[in-house]
């Protein structure tokens, strides 16, 4: 790919960045290509050296704070007209409860997701707890001369299940955190590329 094509494509995919940040990044890449050419590389080689454009955009998305991108996106919005403002004030009793409901719904959804992620962990703690309780109960039964072997069985079984659930709980949480991070970067990449309406 030629330098000019690379730079214009990169620029078009970084539209969501603040203008001065965008310009200084583009000139940084331009200089990087020129320096490689000065070192004896061909234009195509120099461009290829920098990696694919999508990869670069994703890296920049990862390094740019979410807040910066949202703020930049909001700059696109038109200013509210007087009529809209009056309507907003008059409609306050209607939209305010709706907004609160929406917020609560999002919060609940978030909680539910976390509870699902934590289910193996809760089951693990429960099994271990039950196993230990059975183990203690076994001695109590021994002391009063009741059959205790059942308690030993339940205790071993329960602790076994609990131990087996430990890796599952850890992987569930790690996996979820990784997935959240991935989705977050993807969301930021979209904001930078200005892919959505």
């Amino acid at each position: 790919m030629k330098k000019e094509k690379f730079l214009s494509e990169l620029r078009s995919k970084l539209k969501g960045l603040p203008k001065d940040d965008l310009e200084s990044r583009i000139s940084f890449y331009e200089e990087a290509i020129n320096d490689r050419i000065s070192c004896g590389k061909s234009e195509e080689e120099a461009v290829a050296d920098l990696g694919s454009i999508d990869q670069i955009v994703e890296e920049i998305a990862d390094q740019t704070p979410y807040f910066t991108l949202v703020k930049e996106k909001n700059k696109l919005r038109k200013k509210l007209s007087v009529a809209t403002i009056i309507l907003l004030i008059l409609g306050f009793p209607l939209w305010f409860p709706l907004a609160i409901t929406g917020l609560v719904l999002i919060l609940v959804l978030y909680l539910v997701i976390w509870i699902l992620v934590l289910v193996p962990g809760i089951a693990c703690v429960g099994s271990l707890g039950f196993g230990v309780t059975c183990f203690i109960a076994m001695f109590a039964n021994m002391a009063i001369g009741d059959p205790w072997i059942l308690y030993l069985g339940a205790s071993i079984g329960s602790i076994g299940v609990g131990l087996m659930l430990i890796p599952a709980s850890v992987y569930a949480v790690i996996g979820f955190v990784k997935l959240s991070k991935l989705l977050f970067i993807r969301r930021k990449t979209k904001l930078i590329k200005r892919e959505e309406k």
Partner: protein, 102 residues
């Protein structure tokens, strides 16, 4: 590696690369290449952070009819390198202790 630790190490590496002589983007990447691979976007972020923190200054020069930016380490940048070295010595003592216990 812990992201915080990695970030600190990257900063110090880039500062070391410009310590003896002012340098420019591609040269920094080439100089650091045997120790660590830096992408252009990572280097950009580090340089920006160091510039904002006053650890280096940027000088724009003309080179073969085009712009080239040179990075120059400031006294705070040098102080940062010194601080890193003394901290690292402490860390090495801890490391030796841990290693001895293995």
């Amino acid at each position: 590696m812990d992201p915080q630790l990695r970030r600190g190490l990257l900063d110090v590496c880039v500062l070391s690369a410009i310590k003896d002589q002012d340098s420019y983007g591609y040269k920094i990447i080439k100089d650091l290449d045997p120790v660590l691979k830096l992408s252009e976007s990572t280097l950009y972020t580090i340089l920006k952070r160091l510039e904002d923190g006053g650890l280096l200054t940027v000088r724009v020069t003309m080179f073969m009819g085009r712009v080239r930016k040179y990075y120059h380490i400031t006294s705070s940048g040098l102080a940062r390198l010194g601080q890193f070295k003394s901290e690292w010595k402490e860390l090495m003592e801890v490391y030796k202790y841990i290693e001895g216990k293995q």
